[in-house]
């Protein structure tokens, strides 16, 4: 064997051993370090407003994936058009994680308020999933903003009036005409997102 071959072999072996031992100090495989998580949490586009989400639902945005993390009972009672139900307690199940293991769709997570959606966002972000947003104020705020929209008060304001008209139109879209009749709205077919091969073990590796 030539000297250069020996040097290459020794170099590669030493390098791989060094790498093997250096990996022990890193965070668990696939997890995001606290600094990066903090940075992601403070990003402005992490939240989506009730109006923006409504507009995207009405426009049939093909890149939108809505995830309702409330209990199945609550989901069956009422949910947003096209939302899929992944209860918070089941979020780490392999089949459920497959919905988030993609980089094409924008996933909007919501619960009644924001705390459960926030917990789901934290777990999923730490697992390295991307394009996750939270519905600002949750379903309660969405219901109050869109379904119970009140006409603007005070002097005429074009923008406020347009927003009110939009909310009134949205109310009809969601099957709420003169009163609250949400049950009459035909539930759109649940969109099946692209489910890709599982990227990583939930529990992480042994690095």
């Amino acid at each position: 064997m030539r000297t250069t071959d020996k040097i290459v072999i020794i170099g590669l072996l030493l390098g791989s051993v060094w790498l093997f031992f250096s990996g022990k100090n890193t965070p668990e495989k696939g997890e995001i370090p606290p600094g990066k998580l903090h940075e992601l949490m403070l990003q402005k586009h992490r939240d989506i407003s009730a109006d923006e989400l409504t507009e995207r639902i009405i426009n049939g945005d093909p890149l939108l994936q809505i995830v309702d993390v409330r209990d199945t009972k609550e989901y069956e009672n009422y949910t947003l058009s096209g939302a899929i139900n992944i209860p918070l307690k089941d979020i780490l199940k392999k089949d459920n994680l497959a919905y988030f293991d993609q980089d094409v769709l924008n996933t909007v997570i919501f619960s009644n308020g924001t705390s459960d959606a926030q917990i789901a966002w934290n777990i999923l972000t730490r697992l390295g999933y991307k394009n996750l947003t939270i519905l600002k104020g949750g379903l309660n705020n969405w219901f109050e903003t869109i379904i119970l929209a009140k006409p603007p008060t005070g002097p005429y304001d074009k923008e406020a009036d347009e927003l009110y008209q939009f909310r009134k139109g949205a109310r009809v879209y969601f099957g709420v005409g003169g009163g609250i009749e949400e049950e009459s709205a035909p539930k759109p077919k649940v969109r099946i997102p692209i489910i890709k091969h599982k990227k990583k073990e939930v529990e992480g590796g042994c690095s």
Partner: protein, 206 residues
């Protein structure tokens, strides 16, 4: 810190300029290593010269070890580097075609361009052939190849994750495999060359 371009730390023109210099260095390295010689490249298939195997293994492992070391020490965010998705059916077919092209033509795409620029006629023909193939594929992609191209999709496949081991352990295993391959290749090379001595190709002036 890195990668520089995806994080907007360097501009696109500077990124391309750096790529140009790396490309020039790569070309010089290929030529200096004798990789523009078809006999040296094809030697791996006939057993008289395994330098291609050794260089490819060394390059892949140096890249892998270096990248993961930088990642482990916080100098590179490996999540931001390009990670192609795996489509096993078209990849297997393309691998067979490329292997056949390698044996028949004696070049791979990079070395053929180097050979063409050093004036080697076989290299020039190889590049012309490759361009005809590229154009043929491009113009017939939708009717002929699109379905095949998208078949067998596995997403961002990662063998280490599938095996449930860390990337570091996987790279170590591949390194051990490469070392064994180096030793076996040397033995085969010695055996083949002792039975049928091949002149030192550098001395042939090719």
């Amino acid at each position: 810190m890195g990668p520089l371009y995806p994080q907007g730390l360097i501009s696109e023109p500077l990124n391309l300029l750096i790529a140009l210099f790396i490309g020039i260095g790569f070309g010089i390295g290929l030529e200096a290593g004798g990789f523009t010689n078809t006999r040296k490249l094809a030697g791996v298939f006939y057993g008289y010269d395994f330098v291609v195997l050794k260089v490819f293994f060394t390059a892949a492992l140096t890249g892998a070890i270096g990248l993961f070391l930088l990642d482990n020490y916080g100098l590179m965010d490996i999540e931001l580097t390009f990670y192609p998705k795996t489509f096993w059916i078209p990849t297997t077919i393309a691998g067979i075609i490329m292997g056949l092209g390698f044996i028949i033509g004696g070049f791979c795409p990079g070395t053929s361009v180097c050979a063409a620029f050093t004036g080697k006629i076989d290299g020039i023909y190889f590049v012309i052939g490759a361009f005809i193939g590229i154009l043929g594929y491009g113009f017939t992609y939708e009717p002929l190849f699109e379905k095949l191209r998208n078949s067998g999709g596995l997403g961002k496949a990662n063998i280490a994750a599938e095996l449930g081991i860390s990337d570091e352990l996987f790279i170590f295993i591949v390194t051990v495999f490469a070392v064994v391959a180096f030793i076996v290749a040397n033995k085969i090379q010695q055996k083949v060359n002792s039975k049928n001595p091949v002149e030192n190709i550098e001395e042939l002036g090719l």
